[in-house]
């Protein structure tokens, strides 16, 4: 499988603040990749760098191009939805569709109108008159109507209620994703996208702290609910994270053979949220 994104040693400073501190990442073509990190970790800067909206140092190739040199050419193959309502508020919905149709060679107007016909968005309304959920629906309808290799979503459902959030991801998966396109999603709501992901990236303090395929996650990471009498034994196995759970302790291990852990208790694969907490705490404690 080839990689649609290859980045080496990406660095970016805003004054004294280091937003990216040598980010290395590869994203395989066709993956649904989750970029997870706390606030200020460098998620938005990374995504903006991928589409040429942010100047970074280091090596960066996206869909075969350097985004810093040929953003406008790259955007024929990449679509982007940001975490804020970025659609121009003064435009009418129909004018927005006219604009995208005129400037994007791979936009399918009929598809967009078909998507919009299943929503309550009126074509003659200005974007400022739409709710945040409708604006996100509209933006999704636009990008879903463009034939691209890569879709970059930066906290796309931030501020939306549960119904819009669920609908957003349902549409993305059922109507858009075809196994060939790549989707990169950055979000705080890890639980909502966990089942969608095929590739996982954790970022903290401008560094990638985890880069793995979801299929490999269960082979590398193991969570064990350990009884009180076996805690000393579990501690000896070198857990990366320990948390209290209903009077027992849940241990998370990385690259420890399962045969060694089976004797401690019931084995399971940690959830992305639990793994995220584990990796961040591990990173914080060095």
């Amino acid at each position: 499988m080839s990689n649609i994104v290859e980045a080496r040693s990406l660095r970016k400073n805003y004054g004294n603040f280091t937003a990216l501190d040598g980010v290395d990442l590869t994203i395989p073509s066709g993956a649904i990749s989750g970029l997870i990190g706390p606030n200020g970790a460098g998620k938005t800067t990374t995504l903006k760098a991928l589409i040429g909206l942010c100047d970074v140092d280091g090596e960066l190739i996206v869909a075969g191009r350097d985004p810093r040199r040929a953003r406008h050419k790259l955007m024929e193959d990449v679509c982007f939805i940001a975490d804020v309502g970025i659609l121009p508020k003064w435009l009418k919905v129909s004018q927005l569709i006219d604009y995208v149709e005129a400037v994007h060679p791979r936009f399918d107007r009929k598809k967009a109108e078909k998507f919009l016909s299943t929503t309550d968005i009126p074509a003659n309304k200005r974007i400022k008159e739409l709710s945040k959920g409708m604006v996100t629906q509209l933006h999704l309808a636009l990008v879903m109507s463009i034939e691209v290799q890569l879709l970059v979503l930066d906290e796309p459902t931030l501020g939306l209620d549960i119904i819009y959030r669920k609908e957003f991801y349902d549409r993305l998966l059922n109507d858009y994703y075809d196994g060939n396109r790549t989707i990169i999603i950055s979000t705080h709501q890890v639980e909502e996208i966990e089942t969608l992901l095929s590739h996982l990236l954790f970022i903290n303090k401008g560094k990638i702290v985890l880069d793995t395929l979801m299929s490999e996650l269960c082979e590398v990471y193991t969570e064990v609910l350990v009884d009180a009498d076996k805690m000393a034994e579990a501690d000896a196995c070198g857990p990366i994270h320990v948390r209290e759970l209903l009077g027992k302790k849940s241990y998370t291990f990385e690259s420890v053979p399962k045969e060694r852990l089976e004797v401690l208790g019931e084995l399971q694969t940690p959830s992305v949220a639990d793994l995220f907490v584990a990796k961040l705490k591990e990173d914080r404690h060095g």
Binding site: T45, R71, H72, M75, V84, I86, P88, L91, V103
Partner: protein, 284 residues
């Protein structure tokens, strides 16, 4: 240039007009309305004898002249529009690359396959080519309404105004002169256009303050360090003479464009516009 590039550029121009319709359509429409109301009010204030005398005088004044001879007279009516155009263009230029960064819609515009060069050029074209077209169309509408009112006035006062049709043709000819004037002025003021765009693309806050402040500072340091005032004199020489902004005859059009001063200004303006394109590259 292929067809798609032209369609793209047309969409960019359309976007500018839609976004700034108040500056390019609303403002001149208000000026036209004010002029029509004011002239109608004046016409209603004077008595029938004075009105008849005035209309007869105009008739005599224009008798024997061709529409092109009469056109400069109508240029005077265009002066409020020209002033409005320049003020609105300055407001547009200083905000156009700043506003979308401020409201974050730049992330949408930049997510489309449109280069920064295309974007900035569309803004220059809007000011130089497109905005004057809307102004001229609105002046034309004003002339048309004015002529209809004048005709009603003439008929109701039973004055034989010879050549009212010629007057209308003269008004049309003046529209071409007005458009040429706006075009030549835009080229003449290209350094100003470039300067405003540069700071519109650069400033994180108050772009007008940046554009004015840096200009004053550069002039001050030139005076302070070198004891010269080349910058101030150069700007003054380009801004001071109102004749530079109007063309009264077509013969002078090429002469006004192809002269050292204008061409030098075009070069300076192009450098500053290139700077605005570079500034536009990154949103952070």
């Amino acid at each position: 240039m292929d067809r798609f590039t032209i369609v793209q550029f047309y969409a960019l121009l359309r976007r500018e007009v839609l976004e700034h319709r108040n500056l390019f359509i609303g403002a001149p429409a208000v000026v036209a309305l004010l002029i029509l109301v004011a002239t109608s009010w004046v016409a209603m204030q004077i008595d029938e004898t004075q009105l008849a005398e005035g209309l007869s005088y105009i008739s005599v004044l224009f008798d024997g002249l061709s529409p092109f001879d009469m056109a400069p007279f109508f240029m005077l009516l265009a002066i409020p529009f020209m002033l409005t155009l320049y003020i609105c263009s300055a407001i547009y230029l200083i905000n156009t690359l700043f506003q979308d960064r401020k409201e974050m819609s730049i992330l949408f515009w930049q997510s489309m396959p449109v280069s920064n060069l295309q974007t900035v050029l569309s803004k220059v074209f809007t000011v130089v080519i497109v905005a004057p077209i809307f102004y001229v169309l609105i002046i034309f509408a004003m002339y048309l309404i004015g002529m209809i009112l004048l005709t009603i006035l003439v008929v109701s006062n039973e004055v034989d105004l010879v050549g009212i049709g010629w007057m209308f043709l003269a008004a049309i000819a003046s529209l071409v002169l007005i458009y040429c004037s706006a075009l030549v002025t835009s080229l003449w003021l290209l350094p100003t256009i470039g300067w405003l765009l540069l700071f519109s693309a650069f400033a994180k806050k108050t772009p007008l303050l940046w554009a004015g402040g840096v200009f004053i500072l550069v002039g001050f340091f030139e005076d302070f360090i070198f004891g010269t005032q080349y910058l101030a004199n150069w700007v003054q020489s380009r801004a001071a003479n109102p004749n530079q902004y109007l063309i009264f005859e077509f013969q002078s059009l090429l002469e006004r464009i192809f002269n050292y001063e204008t061409l030098f200004g075009i070069v300076v303006g192009s450098v500053l516009i290139t700077g605005a394109v570079c500034m536009r590259r990154f949103t952070d």
